[in-house]
Each structure stands twice: as C-alpha cells, then as structure tokens.
C-alpha cells in the first residue's frame, strides 16, 4: 500500500497552515516528498530504526512535559496543590487538556524522524517490532510471528487526517481527507470515480461519527469517574454519619454499646483544639429519639451557602471576628455528608465543595464535594449560626415532666440566672452520676418508669446520651432553651494532630446562655478513659492503615505539598533517559567493532606493500569498496587505465599468497615482492609527475 503522490506533502502543508507554522509544514513536506526525486537511499539497520523510534518516544515524552509546563499546566497543578478549589481543579483540567492538544499538534514533528527514516530507507516497510519493546524482545528468539511490516507514512497520514477531523468536527470536508479508510487513496483510475466517491463519503461519515461518539463518551466517562472517585475514597474510611433530621439514642437499650476505634477525623490546632465538634443538633425529644424539629417547621430546611470567589472559602458569619482556628480533615462518603465543626464556627477555608449548605440548627452539610477534605475552620465563642430559640426549645415531654420538675425544684434551678444554673447542673451530674456503657436490665416492678427517669432517680449511671438528654430537659424545665447536640469529642493527641475515633462520638447539650448557644457537656470527664479501656489490640494496626489511607487521600485530593516538585523530578528523568539512549548507542558501536576485528583470527601479511599501491590508486579516486576483493578492484583499475595492469595482476598474485596462503612467502620472495612494489610505485609517481607537467604545459 502506498500513499498517493503528494498526499503526505499536502497533509503536512495543511497541518502547517492549521498549526500556524506553515514554513515548518512546508519544510517537513519537502523532506518527506523528496525521495520521489532523490534516488539516494540510506540503509538503516534494525538497530538504527530502533534508536530512531526511541528518539521519537523521548521526543513525545519531552513534548508532553514541555507542553504541560508552557501551557501553565504545572502552575495550575501547583495551584491545585495549594488551593484545591473546584475552580482550580477545573483550571488544571483545562490546562492539562490544552497540553494534550498541544502535543497532538506537535505530533507530526515528533514523529518526523521515523517518517524521514522510512522515506529515505532502502526498505519500504519497517518491522512492527521497531515500535514495541515486547516484540523487540521476541526478535532474538526466532519464534516471532510472521513479520508484519508497517508502512509508517500511511499511518502517520491517517493519524493526521483523523486528528484534524477531531479538531474541527464542524467544518466542511477537509482537503486532506481523501484517504481515511484502508488505503483508499492509493492509485485510483478514473473509471473508479463513482465507487471512490462512495467510499470517500462513507469514510467521512464514519470518522465524523466516531469523533462525535468519542467526545460524548469522554464526557460521560469523566462524570462517572468523578462520582466513582469520591465514592471510593470514602469507602475505606470509617465513620457513620449523623442524620440531621433525627437521631435515635440508645436510651433504654440493654447491653454494651460497641463503637470501633477507627479514626474518623484528624484535627490540627495551635494550642488547645476545640473540645467538641458538632455535626447536628435537635430540638424535639420523642423518646428514645431526638428529632430536629416539629414536622413542617422551617428550621431544618437547608440554605445554600455562597462561596467566596476562590470557591473554597465559605463565610458562614461574615461579621464575626474569630481568634481560633483548627484544621479538620476527614472523609465524605460519596462526596456528601455533615461537616463536624467547633461551636461558633464563622468561616471555613479550603473546602472544595460544589454545593454546601447549612440550616438553623447549625448543621453544615456538603451536598456535592470531594471524598476527602481538609478544611480550616475559624471559630470563637459567642454567636453561632444556629437560629434563636423558640417555643420548641423549651418543650418537655409530659412523661418526664414530673421527675424533671421535682429535680429542678430540688436544685433550685429556676431561680438562678442561666449561667449559674448550667454551672449548678454540671456540678450536680459530676457529683451524683457516673459513666457507664453497661446498661442494666430494667426491673419488672416499675413498668411505667421511663429510661430517663430511672437514670435520673435510681441508677444514676449511663452514657453520654443519657447525660445529654437529661441536661437538655432539665435546663428546659428550668426555663433555659436547650438543644441536644451530637458530634465528636476531641481528646486523643498524637504528635502534632488530634485523632478523633469513632468511639469518640459524643452527645451533649447546647444551651441558650446570655444570648448565645453554648456547649454544656455534663458527661463525667472519665468517660474518655472508660471508652479507651475498650480499645482493641488491633487498633494500632488499624491506625497504621488509616494513616496510609489518609496520606493517600491527601495526595489524591491534591493536599500534599510535594506534588509541586513532581514536575521538577520529571525533567532530570528525561535527561537521564536521553543519556541512557546515547550511552547505549556507544556501547553497541564498540561491541560491533570488537566483533569485526576479532583478535583470534590471525591476519598474516598485513604489512604487505600492496596496500601502498592500493593507497596510491585510491588517492587518484580509485577507492576500493569494503566488499570488493583486491582482484575485482585490480580489474576495475585496469579497465579504467590506471597503472600497469599486467604488473598489478602479477603483484596481486604474490600479495594473495602472502595474505591467504597459510604457507606464506619465502624470505627472498618477500624481498623481491617488496622491490617490485617499490619499482611500481616509483614508476607510477614518475608517470604522474610527467602527466602533471604536460597538463601544466597544455594549460
């Protein structure tokens, strides 16, 4: 299969015009079309072709890097590393795409060496193994499949035309589009015109359809990958989310509660970390559950937060000054979930979410975001995003009312100001209650007793949910608005960061004190150690795995710092590859020369004077080819009337004996030969001088 005349040239010209390097395209076109006129061909060995292909490969790789760097791909990537906002990521994606387009644009230049090699090569086809490392390995084994040869120019041409089609799918048929199916563009006699047109049209439609489908599927694939990506990343991370609408407590359940030691959050803070990270709060107690609010009330409706211009900063309370900050990292399953935040959070930074919302109950919800986040939360005491208290925040269920009234009266909470009352309640729980996760079986005698009443009046032992619920309801009874809050307690320090495990999940109360919601945690402080006792022996290993996964996620979501150095690592790698290539070539060469001059083969008679004759004649333009024997050469010399032919034939016979007769020459013969050759040389030089003189005289 051969390309029609000038098709490649025309294609390259078209490429040059499209790419804006017309002169470059013209140059390449001339080089590739030149073999039509120049008859000189170069004999490339397979090793040469391999090397040229390697060069193309390095060029391609280098081209990718250069394109990436010059089209600000590197900067975009570094930006992503610094600030993983959606806009940055889209930017990086676009720039990455642009570099690929750029490389596609350079492709004809990148593959020019191998195309030129083919154009000027004596062989019309190249072996497939040139292009595959694996096939190259097979080459020596003799088991290689029947050689499939490739006419590269046809392939390159096809690539070109297909690419241009893709670049400009909306355009009218392109001039270089005549050959896109299998070598249609070979030689077409005129009478095949109609058939050709049909084939031509079919290929055009096929290419258009392919390009269109490919583009569609690429988009779809990208979407799928994004979804899959965030779902996968959170899959290995543990952590049950809270439901912002309702949480079912374990009030009244029997037996031990089991929570794992899996790390769900990591917190970094200067100084003390926020003690509690709230995920949700609830207003209505419907034993044994807490519901966000009464059905149909607007508080639990989420409102979208509008990000700042960098798309990763979310100002929840723009006018609130903050003094503290904490970096919180964790996973979002499928890119969705609640964000744990310290009380009084006012601003979040570095949260690359697409949709982020909050509600009156202080819930921060990511609707569409990354599978992993590492966000900086700015917070301070005082005001929070939670809505002001209303009637529901003071409701107490009737079933508990009696007990609560009695206890509140006993403590005299009603008369105290809110802050005092909270303090007193804290002391009350600390003094009279203890923490346990062992829930005893309810006694039969008092069927009507609620779990909470039993906790408050008789057992006086329970877990955090008991304490939190009791606190909320007692405060409400005392006339202080309060809500039930869930989240995590930050308490385990490991090096620079604080680890939050699943078993650190906690419930507490937020109370409206002095015009702001404040955390009131009445659970005895020893609950932490009680929980820690139950950590399993596996925890150390699980932690290690968690660390690895965490680091990977961090890198995956562009949070690692070393990513920006990656680019600078690639350049030395390319240099190294290029150097290896050149070094290899030298090695090959030296090996070859060692082969041809095998020292084991004796070469007698290498001091023969006949070589002087050869040199003399070579100086007159009668050089002996490496494959030409001396006899053939002598004959040629005689035919071209150089030197005394008869003498030469006789001398050559002696030289041959000297060289190839293992017996060699006797000493006198050798002397005679030397003398004869010297005679010949002298004669020739005299002749030469004479000729020169006569030439001189003539001129």
């Amino acid at each position: 299969m051969s390309t029609p005349p000038f098709l490649i040239g025309a294609t390259l010209l078209f490429w040059g015009a499209q790419a804006g390097w017309l002169w470059l395209g013209a140059l390449a076109a001339i080089v590739l079309e030149a073999p039509r006129y120049a008859k000189n061909r170069i004999q490339f060995t397979q090793a040469d072709l391999d090397r040229i292909w390697n060069l193309c490969f390095v060029l391609l790789f280098g081209g990718l890097v250069v394109a990436f760097v010059t089209s600000d791909g590197a900067a975009a990537l570094t930006n992503v590393a610094n600030n993983n906002s959606i806009s940055n990521r889209i930017d990086a994606l676009n720039k990455g795409g642009r570099s690929v387009i750029l490389v596609l644009l350079w492709l004809p230049l990148i593959y020019l060496p191998i195309a030129v090699a083919q154009a000027f090569s004596e062989q019309e086809r190249m072996d497939w193994s040139t292009f595959s490392w694996w096939l190259r390995q097979q080459r020596g084994k003799g088991t290689r499949p029947a050689a499939l040869r490739l006419d590269l120019n046809v392939a390159v041409f096809r690539d070109l035309s297909a690419r241009h089609e893709r670049r400009q799918p909306a355009h009218a048929p392109l001039p270089d589009h005549r050959d896109d199916s299998d070598g249609v563009g070979a030689v077409e006699p005129a009478f095949e015109g109609r058939f050709l047109l049909r084939r031509w049209t079919t290929s055009l439609v096929l290419v258009l359809a392919t390009a269109f489908t490919a583009q569609l599927s690429m988009l779809e694939l990208q979407r799928l990958m994004q979804r899959l990506d965030s779902a996968l990343i959170a899959r290995f991370a543990s952590g049950r989310g809270f439901d912002p609408k309702e949480v079912r407590t374990a009030l009244g359940s029997i037996g031990r509660m089991k929570l794992s030691g899996d790390i769900v959050l990591r917190v970094e803070a200067e100084g003390a970390p926020p003690p509690l990270l709230r995920e949700a709060s609830y207003k209505m107690f419907l034993s044994p559950s807490w519901a966000a609010t009464r059905h149909g009330r607007p508080e639990q409706n989420f409102i979208e937060v509008i990000p700042e211009s960098d798309l990763t900063t979310w100002k929840l309370m723009p006018d609130k000054p903050t003094r503290k900050k904490a970096i919180i990292s964790g996973f979002l399953s499928g890119g969705q979930g609640l964000l744990p935040a310290p009380a009084g959070v006012a601003k979040l930074e570095d949260l690359p979410a697409v949709q982020f919302e909050t509600n009156q109950l202080g819930v921060l919800r990511v609707q569409e975001g990354p599978g992993f986040y590492q966000t900086t939360a700015y917070y301070d005491d005082g005001r929070s995003i939670d809505g002001a208290p209303d009637g529901i925040d003071e409701e107490v269920p009737n079933s508990e009312k009696q007990t609560l009234d009695r206890l509140v009266d006993e403590l005299g909470l009603r008369e105290l100001p809110a802050a005092q009352a909270v303090k007193k309640l804290n002391e009350f729980f600390a003094r009279e209650f203890r923490y346990t996760t062992w829930l005893e079986e309810r006694r039969r005698r008092k069927e009507t007793e609620t779990p909470l009443t039993r906790f408050l009046t008789r057992s006086r032992a329970g877990h955090c949910e008991y304490f939190a619920t009791a606190t909320v309801l007692m405060l409400r009874t005392a006339g202080i608005p309060a809500r039930y809050a869930v989240g995590y307690s930050v308490q385990e320090r490991k090096g620079q960061e604080w680890l939050v495990r699943e078993r650190h999940a906690h419930a507490w109360c937020i109370a409206w004190v002095d015009g702001a919601w404040r955390d009131v945690d009445t659970t005895p402080a020893n609950w932490v150690s009680v929980e820690a006792e139950r950590s399993s022996a596996w925890e150390r290993w699980k932690d290690r795995w968690s660390n690895i996964w965490f680091a990977f996620s961090k890198w995956r979501w562009g949070k690692g710092e070393w990513k920006e150095y990656l680019i600078y690592l690639v350049i030395p790698l390319i240099l190294l590859a290029g150097w290896r290539l050149m070094a290899q070539k030298q090695w090959n060469r030296s090996k070859n020369s060692a082969d041809s001059r095998n020292p084991r083969v004796p070469q007698p008679g290498f001091d023969s004077e006949f070589y002087l004759i050869e040199k003399t004649l070579a100086a007159r333009g009668l050089e002996r080819q490496p494959e030409e024997t001396l006899a053939a050469w002598t004959k040629r010399a005689t035919a071209e009337k150089q030197g005394g032919a008869d003498d030469l034939a006789a001398l050559l016979q002696v030289h041959y004996r000297l060289r190839f007769d293992p017996g060699g020459l006797e000493a006198p013969e050798r002397e005679r030969f030397r003398a004869q050759v010297n005679d010949w040389l002298e004669r020739e030089s005299r002749k030469q001088i004479r000729n020169d003189r006569s030439d001189h005289a003539n001129s």
């Binding site: 070469q603 490496p626 041959y656 017996g663």
Partner: protein, 314 residues
C-alpha cells in the same frame, strides 16, 4: 593409463570437452565442475530445454564413467531408484537388481515432481553415499555425482523440496538462456548429428580421483574461514529470513572455493573464490518468510546483499 594428469589440466580438459557440446555456459560449467570436484551435488533450477540433461550427459561421457538418468514422476517409488530384490525361481533365492542409483553420474530429472518419499530416498544416498535396501546397506560407487534438475517451484504439479533436503545440494544455480549467438552456434552444431555423439571420454577415473585429492589439499587461511563463517552467519540475522544457512553451507562454500582454486591453478583459496561461490552455495538454503517473498526479496538477492555488506579480507 600411467601417471594421472595434473589437476588443473584435468579441469581444463573436461571443460574443453564439455564446451564442445554446451555453448556459452562457461560460468555454469565452472560451477558444475566445482561441485563435482568437491564431492558435492548440484541442483539446477531451470526452464525445460536449457541444456540440463545435455550438460549432465556431456560430463558423464567426458569421464570414463557410467551415467544413468531417472525421470522423476509423481508415481515414482523409492525402489525405482534404489533397486529391488526379485525371486529367482531357478536358484530359489532373492536376487537384488540394482536401481539407477548405482552409477557414477546420476541425472535426477525434475526431482520436484516425485513424491517426498522418493525424494528422500535419493537424498539419503546423496548424503551418505550409501543406500539401505531391505535392511541391507549397500555402498555406492566411489565416484557418485548427482545432477538434479527441477522446474521453478511455482510450476504446477510439483512437491517443493523441504529445506533440510535442499541443504544436501552443495550448489544450486540456473543455466539460463544463452546469448543469441550461442544459440545459433547450438543450431549449427546439431546440423549433422548431436554433438554428444562426437565426444568421447578425455579423462580417466584416476584423473578424477587425483583432482578430488588436490581439491582437498588446497590451503585456506584462518582469515578466509572466518570470512566464510561471517557470510553464512549473516544470513541467520537478516530480517525476512526464517532459516539461515547451516554450518553445512559453510563447509560446502569452503570446499567449492577450494575447487575453484585448483581450477585457477592455485594451491590456496582467495577471497574471490569465496565470493564467486557464495550465492550458488548459500542462496538455496535460505527459507524466506512469506511476507519477505511477497515484498520482492529473493534469496539470491539477500546473499548478494550480504556479500556486499560483509567486509572482505584484502
């Protein structure tokens, strides 16, 4: 006869004698005689009517030797070549009737028309100079030379010789068509009777034996041995060649070169001898890949390329 002739003279006499019959085929005669003198066998691949048979007959007549010809056909059996035992009723024993292979010079005409089984019967004889018939080993004549001819393999009704059997032939070459002048000479020569009738033996078996001994005694330098090995070795690395030349090829190339040296009156081999014999000795042993054949490569072309590429000792 008393003293055997000098080897070169034997060659020249043979050549002159055969040239009386075969016109304008000097190169081919030189090659045939080189194979003959170096204990090799010859495969001629040529079109019908180019003088293969005449060449073989002329050679046989020039020597005082027996000549037999077997026309290979698809139904030819091994026993047709080797011979067969027939029960003699009078003597009540089996008597072996020698086949045509028991001769000095055998012309195996159109060898690729016979079935592979028959081909291999002949080729065993060629390789080992003996035949096994009915479990009995029988030695062939000391002077045993096979000239096989075959039609170009693309012709219809042929069984191409397998590579292993091609390897048994020392040389393969074509006679080709002669120049118009020579062809005219052929016509004139046949005016009265066939020129074959006119020639008679000019050398004795002893002369031939002496020639063969002389060929074996021709010296060859280590450097040229290496050159021969380089040439055959190169065929094993050429892309497009499935099977390169064997060490047997190297051996055959050396022997043929030695014969040429004797013909030229030398007692050592020169690079020219090696180059001259490279193509007829090596080319037919190469098995090309189908792809290479279709792309126009030929074995002879590849060998010519190799000869051009490998630097010759000078």
């Amino acid at each position: 006869m008393n003293r055997p002739l000098p080897p070169r003279e034997v060659y020249q006499k043979l050549l002159a004698n055969i040239e009386r019959v075969i016109h304008g085929q000097n190169d081919a005669l030189r090659k045939v005689l080189a194979a003959f003198a170096s204990d090799g066998h010859v495969l001629l691949e040529d079109f019908p009517g180019t003088g293969k048979t005449t060449l073989a007959k002329a050679l046989a007549r020039s020597i005082d030797a027996t000549f037999k010809r077997v026309q290979f056909t698809p139904d030819l059996l091994p026993s047709d070549i080797l011979g067969v035992s027939i029960y003699n009723q009078r003597e009540q024993t089996f008597q072996f009737h020698e086949g045509p292979i028991f001769t000095n010079i055998l012309l195996a005409d159109e060898i690729n028309r016979a079935s592979p089984r028959t081909q291999s019967a002949l080729l065993e004889a060629m390789g080992e100079s003996q035949v096994s018939v009915e479990g009995e080993r029988r030695k062939l004549a000391d002077l045993f030379f096979v000239i096989a001819t075959q039609n170009p393999v693309e012709f219809r009704g042929t069984y191409p010789l397998p590579e292993a059997q091609m390897d048994r032939f020392a040389l393969q070459f074509t006679l080709g068509y002669v120049t118009p002048e020579d062809e005219v000479a052929i016509l004139s020569a046949q005016a009265d009777n066939h020129p074959l009738e006119r020639i008679s033996s000019c050398v004795s078996s002893a002369d031939i034996a002496a020639l063969k001994t002389a060929v074996r005694q021709v010296k060859i330098s280590e450097e040229l041995k290496r050159y021969i090995v380089d040439l055959t070795g190169a065929t094993r690395r050429v892309p497009g060649v499935q099977l390169g030349a064997s060490p047997r090829a190297s051996l055959a190339l050396m022997k043929a070169s030695q014969a040429l040296a004797v013909f030229d009156g030398m007692d050592f081999v020169t690079p020219d001898h090696v180059q001259e014999m490279a193509s007829p000795v090596i080319a037919h042993r190469l098995a090309l890949e189908p792809q290479a054949k279709f792309s126009g490569l030929s074995a002879a072309g590849i060998v010519a390329d190799i000869v051009k590429k490998v630097p010759v000792p000078a």
